[in-house]
């Protein structure tokens, strides 16, 4: 170490400045699983967006002469108990299912993370008040809570999304709070205060990024649960209204015919599984890419 050496102005090339974002992108690109997940998810979303253009039949038109047909060239995924083309229903149904899964989880995570970081950071009265409210929510099973909300607000897709959002907030609050409490003790937060970061900056820049990994996993798993909850809601008539298709509803409708016509549940179940799997792969990859400690 040579201290006497004049500090040379490091102008010119500003080092090899890799920003965090660039690093995350590059790591995501190198992660085959994550890219596969992203690819499948993009594909499903495109199908959902352009659904009406690519669906071979109408999703609601019944054809009582061809009920319960097995997969064939005409109906690649077969038809259901009313002769509706399952492939078309899956394509159109992806819109409702994805909307429920993604929007409700996005909403629940944003609200949950905000409340949770407030609880974890400030502690004391704020913490007690918010957490006791969350306890009240969590005293009811999430599905029962969602059903109650839906029943109060009336059935339909939007209310269904709202209900699932609300019933999922507590778990996000709890998880964020636990993460934040852990990080709260770290000396770099004290250091951040000592260099004069504002509270919001500390939370946004120093706490949340460090608390994110468990939340990303929770988020991707949550999408799956949300789609399944939505199917339960549709099943009891509170979710997407028949005859409009929705994956979960199709799954539960096909349940009665599983012995004789398994294709009715297989395809809708597979779609849910593929979506959830791709989200998990993406989420896992994202979590790894966000952690600089893992080697490239």
């Amino acid at each position: 170490m040579n201290l006497q050496k004049e500090t040379k102005a490091p102008g010119g090339q500003p080092a090899k400045r890799k920003s965090m974002n660039a690093m995350v992108l590059r790591r995501m690109k190198n992660n085959k699983m994550a890219m596969a997940g992203l690819f499948i998810l993009t594909f499903i979303m495109l199908v959902a967006i352009f659904g009406p253009l690519i669906a071979p039949y109408s999703a609601t038109k019944t054809d009582l002469l061809h009920t319960y047909s097995l997969p064939s060239l005409q109906h690649p995924f077969g038809t259901d108990e009313l002769g509706r083309d399952i492939m078309s229903r899956l394509i159109i149904g992806s819109r409702a299912s994805l909307a429920i899964g993604l929007i409700s989880m996005a909403g629940a995570s944003v609200i949950g993370i905000m409340l949770g970081s407030l609880c974890g950071y400030f502690g004391g009265k704020v913490d007690t008040v918010i957490m006791r409210f969350m306890d009240i929510f969590q005293a009811l099973p999430p599905l029962i809570l969602a059903i109650a909300i839906c029943a109060a607000l009336g059935p339909g897709l939007n209310n269904c999304i709202l209900a699932i959002t609300i019933s999922n907030i507590p778990s996000f609050v709890r998880m964020t709070r636990a993460s934040v409490l852990n990080i709260r003790r770290m000396e770099y937060l004290e250091a951040a205060t000592a260099i004069n970061c504002s509270t919001s900056r500390i939370i946004a820049k120093h706490i949340l990024p460090n608390a994110l990994s468990p939340l990303i996993v929770q988020l991707t798993m949550g999408v799956a649960t949300a789609i399944i909850s939505a199917s339960a809601m549709s099943f009891i008539g509170l979710g997407v209204q028949p005859p409009n298709p929705e994956w979960g509803a199709m799954l539960s409708a096909g349940r009665g015919y599983i012995r004789n016509y398994p294709h009715m549940v297989t395809f809708s179940g597979t779609m849910i599984m593929i979506t959830v799997l791709s989200l998990n792969m993406l989420g896992d990859g994202l979590r790894d890419a966000l952690d600089p400690k893992l080697k490239d």
Partner: protein, 332 residues
């Protein structure tokens, strides 16, 4: 430093009668009991004492990051260039924190955010305090890295890619990035091994002299004090028991506690099998003894030490001792 450079020797910081308590679950811990100290510009003051003596609490009180609750400042003044930091509104305090006073933390392993590059963490303090563009802040950060002996092209690396000693250098770079007038170094070398300790301390001293920064060096290592301080305050149970120039303290320690500290040091020349420790344990800060808080462990303790307040005596010019038993010319 817009208000013109003050001359070396001017009074920079003056702490008067600072009293801090921690309250938790009904119990009150008296962490700092009436501490007064002065730091002149360019001076480096060592704060020496056992674990739990209140050293870190004093530093945190000065920079205003004591967690409240549980900590509470009951009394006292912390005057930095004519303004009492304890009375300053938060908005004004934010201009002081990180800019005029900055702090080096004890454990470099946890003092850096693992998700931000070291360069960005230095640039953050620059951009928080100076109206500079992102690019300028980055350049300043690189300059600081070079200054603490890290090549600037490691700007974009993350804390885990650095060794402990280098992390501590980054922490020092953050602390010095805005040319603070007062540097609070809270046991900057405790978490490092001995050779790195020497390097880091030398670097802190060199930079401190170069930038004409005042420093409050908290440590329990008398060797570090001898190396890099001008004056020393020995603190025991939240009170300063002896305050002197380094030379006076090392050549002529007066307080029984200081004598005990020196007695517990291994000597390189003598051949002694056992060190002479101070008997007993530091007092329970929830329940400090009456009178002089050191009297239960003091071998010179007399009846008068057990009750009432203890005088602050000046045993020789600028050498103050908090003790009944020290002989001296005058009381203060």
């Amino acid at each position: 430093m817009s208000e013109g450079k003050m001359k070396t020797g001017d009074l920079l910081l003056s702490v008067r009668d600072l009293k801090v308590v921690y309250t938790s679950a009904g119990a009150t811990v008296e962490a700092v009991n009436g501490v007064s100290l002065d730091i002149k510009r360019g001076e480096s003051l060592g704060l020496v004492g056992e674990t739990g003596a209140g050293k870190t609490t004093i530093a945190k009180a000065i920079i205003g990051v004591l967690p409240d609750p549980p900590a509470k400042i009951l009394n006292g003044e912390i005057i930095l260039q004519d303004s009492d930091l304890l009375k300053l509104p938060e908005k004004e305090m934010r201009k002081v924190r990180g800019k005029k006073i900055s702090m080096i933390f004890q454990d470099p392993m946890t003092a850096l955010n693992p998700l931000l590059t070291v360069g960005d963490q230095i640039a953050e303090v620059v951009s928080l305090h100076e109206s500079v563009s992102k690019k300028e802040a980055m350049n300043k950060a690189m300059e600081m890295l070079e200054m603490v002996g890290i090549p600037a092209d490691r700007y974009a690396e993350f804390p885990h890619q650095f060794s402990g000693g280098m992390k501590q250098r980054v922490v020092i770079a953050i602390a010095l990035a805005c040319n603070p007038e007062l540097l609070l170094a809270d046991e900057p070398t405790t978490a490092l091994d001995v050779t790195i300790q020497a390097q880091v301390m030398e670097m802190i001293s060199v930079l401190q002299k170069k930038l004409n920064t005042s420093m409050l060096l908290i440590t329990h290592d008398l060797g570090v004090v001898a190396e890099s301080c001008d004056n020393v305050a020995v603190i025991y149970a939240g009170e300063i028991v002896e305050y002197a120039s380094k030379e006076d303290l090392f050549l002529d320690p007066a307080h029984p506690y200081t004598l005990g500290l020196f007695g517990s040091l291994p000597s390189l020349t003598g051949d002694v099998d056992r060190l002479t420790p101070i008997p007993g344990l530091p007092p329970d800060p929830e329940n400090l003894p009456d009178g002089c808080s050191f009297h239960p462990r003091c071998r010179y303790a007399a009846e008068e030490c057990k009750h009432g307040s203890v005088p602050f005596k000046e045993v020789s010019p600028d050498h103050f001792v908090h003790c009944h038993m020290c002989h001296c010319e005058k009381e203060v």
